[in-house]
Amino acid sequence: MTTTSVPKYWREIKYRYRLIGSRCLQCGKIFFPHRAVCRVCGSRKLEDYKLSEKGEVLSFTVIRRNSPSSFEKNVPYIVGLIKLENGITLLSQIVDCSIEEVSIGMPVELTFRKIKEAGKEGIIEYGFKFRPVLK
């Protein structure tokens, strides 16, 4: 369970590092995660679309036990539903924030963090997380 598929990680790099989804060239609908077929109009022509880097927290939870293996060291960690512009909502860890501080409606911004690593020998998987907006 803790081994990483390198190609599987590598394929998602661009999308995860820079928060890139898809935009339908026919009807303009934005999607995240990226997809090949538009759910609204059925078009197969979609382009990469960079999402907004700011959003607000819709809901959150704190993982305290039974975290999937390779996330054990991070316990407890906050995971939230985050609403960005363009009608996009996504799931992400919320960091730089204490459990007492996180709240529904809290403004958050994108940050680049380690997600997990496959032991001391495996690759490090990086990706997006969100943190409270710097004042």
Binding site: R18, N74, V95, R113, K114, Y126
Partner: protein, 347 residues
Amino acid sequence: MKPEKCVGIISYGGYVPIYRVKTSEIARMWGRDGEPMQAEEVAVASMDEDSVTMAVEAARYALKSAKIDPKEIGAIYIGSESKPYAVKSSGTIVAEAIGASPHITAADFEFACKGGTEALQACIGLVAAGMVKYGLAIGVDAAQAAPSDDLEYTVACGGAAFLVGPKTDETIAYFEGSCSYVSDTPDFWRRAEQPYPSHAGRFTGEPAYFRHVINAAKNLMKEFSYKPEDFDYVIFHQPNLKFPVRAGLMLGFTRKQLEPGLVIPSIGNVYAGSALLGLVAVLDSAKPGERILLVSYGSGGGSDAFSIVVQRKPSKGNPTPFISQLISRKKYLDYAQYAKYRGKMFF
């Protein structure tokens, strides 16, 4: 070293993580309560941060106020002594994260705490030679200190990124020139398989830090016929508070010239990011026309000195935050949390 074509700083960004541990808390752990400390508190990377993630944050901050297409960056060089991969360039990851790859050259520089200024020198060279349009130089570290070692009271995490390009009227500052002084001086080192560095105690002072820093600074001033009064600011590498202040005074600088670039009291020694974060702090408030002397030091050892002239202040409404904002936004950890975050606990 004077570049043929003048090279300027297009934009810059510094990053310091949110977490801090007070040095008094570290002292409490090891029974050294009440001792005078070089830093009040040190910046601590979170469990999910490393030198690569912090390099990305610094680079992104720099790009926020640059208004350039990241694809125009021709080189990305990162100096660090805490690379997460011994073999795999951090530059590849940062380049991808800022959208600058694949038409770019990338490499990581190691020269202890002066890896960042080495990266800067190389970028200046490439830009001046017309080989790249823009170069991104980053000095960043998430260095480690063994539990209870003296280094625990200063070691810190953070970094700074500088986007350099041909000097124009718009560039924030430009380089008049630089000068390096390097010798085989094993004052502080880390063998390849070791997790923590070793050092030669008091040998790290006069024959190491001071000899190289003083020589690099003197040689630069000699080359440009400058005296200490010709500079408004002097920034040194800050392994502690004593060394940069003493070096400055030895060279004839005043405390007033030293103060704005001293970041160690509030965040600790950020290794390859130390002098560069000092530069960030100075650039945040410097006025057009002012001149900066930047002098890094890397154990092993060597020093890079730069003469930098400021052209403009960061504009109002600048999307990149001031480093003072990042320094003042903080959360304190106790020693147990600090040990957990910095990987000193074995799972």
